[in-house]
């Protein structure tokens, strides 16, 4: 946005504010997102079943990815323990349905609350620590949970896991079965939209701006009077919440929960998604999910070692644009604006 050099305080002040507002929420983004949402809603019934299953999986994992972006992309906290919350969310649902005969909504609520509580407790210990120690302690927590889940197979089913029959989804006026792929599709989409809206609002809110200033300079943020620990803890809990929601939806989709949901893969994948797509962008990690999932679904059939390609891709992307794909697109837009 070009600045008109005028001495009038009001004009320059408002252009600054406009710029501020546009940086707060890119005007184009809502339209693009709306278009994408409409497309996703409309093509649901027409997708071939294989692709539809894949899209459902992608949608569920995008929730996980966006939550992780709040942690890594917005407050610079590189947690290696998100699988704790993913697994907790999954088991919250599985155990609630198996032992409490809970209906779907109750199971989801239990799963999400369990994740929040766990995120709060682990965060109290972990968030206080500085960068490297934070990474280490989250990794330690992950190990504890994973080994416990393997060992306590009387509760968790261990790595064999527990299968569940998913109760029907009651919407008050009607009951829908999640065994109907279309219902599963829109169910996942509903939560994706809600998560996206919540997180976008958080990112554009004062809370989100404080997150960003913590990321940019957490020391200085302290000197501005912010209890940085509390804010980082909030970010940690948010990430845990969405990881748990994602895990719950994933368990519902698979009708299954196992110790594998606590495994290291689910701690590392979010990092990969965020790196590919771009930190601090919310949509970026979703692109990361899409790419990883497509690779796993299709490329794996051609070459089982597809992860090598992914690795090379990550290196290329990080060399070209450290802020991932979305970061690159945004910086190109900026350059075009400058020239034009």
């Amino acid at each position: 946005m070009p600045f008109k050099d005028s001495g009038q305080g009001l004009r320059t002040a408002s252009s600054g504010f406009r710029e501020f507002k546009s940086r707060m929420s890119n005007k184009q983004t809502p339209f693009v997102m709306l278009a994408v949402a409409v497309v996703v809603i409309l093509i649901g019934p027409f997708l071939p079943p294989g692709l539809r299953s894949l899209v459902i999986e992608i949608m569920i994992l995008c929730i996980f990815a966006m939550g992780y972006d709040i942690l890594l992309g917005f407050t610079d906290q590189c947690s290696l323990g998100q699988s704790i919350f993913f697994g907790t969310g999954a088991y919250g649902v599985v155990l609630a349905i198996s032992y409490l005969n809970a209906n779907l909504w109750l199971a989801l609520i239990i799963a999400v609350i369990a994740s929040i509580v766990l995120a709060f407790l682990t965060g109290l210990i972990a968030v206080r620590l500085s960068e490297a120690y934070f990474v280490i302690i989250t990794a330690i927590f992950f190990s504890i949970f994973y080994l416990l889940s393997l060992s306590m197979s009387w509760l968790t089913g261990g790595d064999d896991g527990i299968s569940i029959t998913v109760p029907s989804l009651s919407l008050g006026f009607t009951e829908l079965s999640l065994y109907n792929p279309l219902v599963n599709y829109y169910f996942a989409f509903f939560f994706l939209i809600i998560s996206y809206l919540i997180l976008t609002r958080v990112v554009g809110s004062p809370l989100g701006k404080v997150f960003i200033s913590i990321r940019e300079n957490s020391e200085r943020t302290k000197f501005l009077g912010y209890n940085v620990f509390r804010y980082k803890l909030i970010a940690f809990i948010l990430a845990g919440l969405f990881a748990g929601l994602s895990g719950a939806l994933y368990a519902i989709r698979l009708r299954y929960g196992s110790a594998d949901f606590f495994s290291f893969d689910w701690s590392v994948l979010p990092i990969v998604w965020v790196l590919i797509g771009g930190t601090g962008t919310l949509i970026g990690p979703c692109i990361g999910v899409v790419i990883m999932s497509l690779f796993q679904y299709y490329v794996s059939a051609w070459w089982a070692q597809y992860l090598i390609i992914v690795g090379v891709l990550i290196i290329v992307i990080l060399r070209v644009s450290p802020k991932g794909i979305v970061g690159y697109i945004r910086s190109r837009k900026g350059k075009v604006k400058e020239k034009g």
Partner: protein, 246 residues
């Protein structure tokens, strides 16, 4: 009652005494300078006041209240703000956003996740006012990393101002600033001293002598002497310290 008072403030690092029994006071509305050679303990002194470091001995009081050893964010809330010798800004945030962050910290709900950040008109207004006060209002949309060094040093002060402090600690604001931009800096410091008491660490003698009401000289962590600008510039001991004149 003094606005800020330190009594016997001391900081030991193992065997090294960085700040040695410093008694210091600032009145409301004063602009006090602190000068001293490198390693005199000036920045450590600031660190003790603002909570980066805990004093080994001694006390810091603000308006009579003991604030020794409080963490940085609480001291900021009490009304003390500081700038840093090495520019300590928010690289990928714009001028506006950087100042906004500080103003927001004093809002009733700085952690509000529900409203859109731009919707808080009070905060927007105050942010613009501060940017205007320091003369950065034409550059509000610029990314902090893209500013000239001089403008960054001004931004450094604007960020410190954003929390409406009653006491502002400026740590070598003209550090690395080009001669062209020094005048701007001087007028900024003057303007700022109209809204808050200021303690100014500076190496640039002319500026300190011109701006300060009162100057304290530190060497090896101890107060050597204190006085008005004219007294200090005439002081033989001070001349010895700085100019090596016998």
């Amino acid at each position: 009652m003094k606005l800020l008072e330190t009594a016997g403030l001391t900081k030991n690092f193992g065997g090294l005494v960085a700040v040695d029994e410093v008694n210091f006071a600032v009145e409301k509305g004063e602009l006090k300078g602190i000068i001293g050679p490198n390693g005199a303990g000036k920045t450590t002194f600031f660190n003790l006041i603002t909570g980066s470091l805990k004093p080994t001995r001694g006390k810091v009081s603000l308006n009579g209240e003991d604030i020794s050893g409080l963490p940085p964010h609480l001291i900021s809330r009490k009304g003390i703000s500081r700038t840093f010798q090495i520019t300590n800004i928010f690289p990928e945030m714009t001028v506006y956003e950087s100042v906004w962050a500080g103003v927001n910290s004093r809002a009733k709900q700085p952690w509000n996740p529900f409203i859109h950040a731009g919707a808080a008109t009070d905060i927007s207004r105050k942010t613009k006012e501060i940017c205007q006060m320091v003369g950065l209002d034409s550059k509000m949309g610029e990314l902090s990393t893209n500013l000239s060094h001089g403008d960054q040093r001004v931004l450094e002060i604007a960020i410190a101002l954003s929390t409406e402090p009653i006491l502002l600690l400026l740590d070598e604001p003209t550090q690395g600033v080009s001669p062209k931009e020094i005048d701007t800096m001087i007028s900024v410091v003057r303007k700022v001293s109209e809204v808050a008491a200021v303690v100014l660490i500076e190496h640039n003698m002319d500026i300190v002598l011109e701006l300060s009401d009162n100057i304290t000289v530190l060497e090896n962590g101890r107060t050597v002497t204190e006085g008005s600008p004219s007294e200090i510039s005439a002081n033989r001991e001070v001349q010895k310290i700085f100019l090596g004149i016998e």
